[in-house]
Amino acid sequence: MSDARLSVLKTYKLYVGGKFPRSESGRVYEVTDSKNNWLANAPLASRKDARDAVVAARKAFGGWSGATAYNRGQILYRIAEMLEGRRGQYVREVADAEGLSKSKAADQVDAAIDRWVWYAGWTDKIAQVVGGGNPVAGPFFNLSSPEPTGVVAVLAPQASSFLGLVSVVAPVIATGNTAVVVASERSPLPALSLGEVLATSDLPGGVVNILSGRTAEIAAPLAAHQDVNAIDLAGADEALAKELEIAAADNLKRVLRPQPVDNWSATPGTERMTAFLETKTVWHPTGSLGASGSAY
């Protein structure tokens, strides 16, 4: 009645190249909670939105992969800070999206925030853990270092709309990749809201691009896209995963197949980072200080 203020609803938009466009298609789809109550209309992203997102991700790749690992760590930590400040909003969205109690949803959001902190700390350590000098038999200094693969298409997990999403996106960008993320089809709202946090965390535009819509429809052009270097199939079912893996073979994308995850809260290992890292090995002659090294 008169004491109930009519709330202002949010128009959910895509997050592409640091901006919040509507879908190029002009279409939306209805997003409901677990009891089928209307929550919002989400953009129904098209092939062209996917294309634009890849362009944005490619454009951002040079700067992001070239940033210092320390800088990337600072920014990932900033994302955690921003999320902490808007914790209430995400608890509400996750509870609605996944039909969880407030306290269960809070556990998910807290774990997601902590996940950003975990990966923030990894940015300047992963190279030391998976790279290093190789004792080659000769007068050479030989160093292997991990480098980001490039543009990674990420199909976010369908069930875990926020913790699952963060768990697959953070490791991709921590190491310097840029990402085109397809949000959970049924529960895209936490993902779309994450864009708002990313946009205010000093993360350069284009590093993470978030699309909502039909996973299979958006994923197909991404899997076939010749300027996408890798794809994480976490959010694909078995049939779709196979189809996408076949399409991905056209330019030999690195493919991370869907793996059963019972509990996204478990401490992640390094696998989600190393799946999207290349090893570059550089050889340098050392030689002797003087010209006296050669004898016979």
Partner: protein
């Protein structure tokens, strides 16, 4: 008439500064790559007719050397006889290119090789250290030339080179060249073991050639590291490039440490595959050596007879 740098490069020799800019502008040398190339050429397999050719060529390129405080006229005469006729049992054996002695032994050596094509080379310029006043060095050279030396093996002032006084080194070489007159050819010894880096060896090679060297020579044989395949390869590249740029051909002489036929043949392979047949002649390539000759002779006998020879079948000089 003093030889000066070829016209195209005359402006680089004006001062320490211009020389430094030029010499430090030469391409750098990657030590690992240079040594790998030298080692790779060292795996060439030289057999039968090629080996016979190479052994005779190597014998003809030896500067048979004695540079001892204990050298006597008798020793030098023996050396001269051996240079002229290295293998008394086989007259088809070629003579060596030269004998190499101290200046006070030049006259004796000259007598010993009289009537043959064997040249007399003399080390000079306060060999091997080169640490004497310039006047003394030049006097040393003039005495040797006056005594009949056909070739002068001078040492550069390594101290001046390492201190960056390139102009001083240059001037000294040109002065010695002048003292050689028109008849004596000048070999310039860098003492590569003391220059230490390959970059320095390339720079010294160009400095020597700019100053009028007829030959560039690795070393005196008196320090720990003397001729190596790598430093000789580098000097061959220098004479190749110098001729390409100026049209002037300069010889190369590795000296010290080359003791076996196998080693000598490896050096000839370096010559063959770096500068080619224009240098496969004792006018352009020499070995500064003493014990090498007997090993070449034994290998030659083995090729001729099919059985291994022994030290009692070659002469002790």
């Amino acid at each position: 008439m003093p030889t000066t740098a070829p016209n195209a490069l005359s402006d680089v020799t004006a001062s320490d500064g211009t020389l430094r800019r030029f010499l430090h502008g030469l391409p750098g040398v990657d030590a690992v790559g240079l040594e790998a190339r030298a080692a790779s050429l060292g795996t060439r397999s030289i057999k039968t007719t090629a080996k016979a050719y190479a052994i005779d060529l190597a014998i003809s390129m030896v500067d048979l050397t004695t540079l001892e405080g204990a050298d006597t006229p008798g020793k030098v005469r023996a050396l001269g006889a051996k240079a002229v006729r290295p293998d008394p049992t086989d007259r088809t054996t070629p003579s060596t290119a030269a004998v190499c002695v101290y200046p006070d032994m030049v006259a004796t050596a000259k007598e010993a090789v009289a009537g043959s094509d064997v040249k007399v080379a003399s080390v000079a310029t306060a060999f091997p250290a080169g640490r004497a006043p310039i006047a003394v060095k030049l006097a040393d050279v003039r005495e040797a030339v006056a005594a009949g030396a056909d070739e002068i093996d001078m040492v550069i002032d390594r101290g001046a080179f390492l201190a960056g006084h390139y102009k001083k080194v240059y001037d000294e070489i040109t002065a010695v060249k002048e003292a050689c007159g028109t008849n004596a050819r000048l070999k310039v010894i860098f003492e590569t073991g003391e220059l230490s880096t390959y970059d320095n060896i390339r720079r010294a090679s160009w400095l020597g050639m700019l100053a009028g060297a007829d030959f560039i020579k690795t070393s005196t044989g008196k320090v720990a590291v003397n001729a190596t395949p790598a430093n000789t390869l580098l000097m061959l590249e220098a004479v190749r490039d110098f001729r390409a740029q100026t049209g002037v051909q300069v010889g190369v002489k590795p000296a010290g440490g080359i003791r076996t036929s196998k080693d000598a043949i490896k050096f000839l392979v370096l010559v063959n595959e770096t500068v080619g047949e224009d240098w496969l002649d004792n006018h352009w390539f020499r070995f500064g050596a003493s014990s090498l000759l007997n090993d070449l002779l034994m290998q030659r006998q083995k090729l001729a007879t099919g059985r291994y020879s022994g030290p009692d079948y070659v002469t002790v000089d």
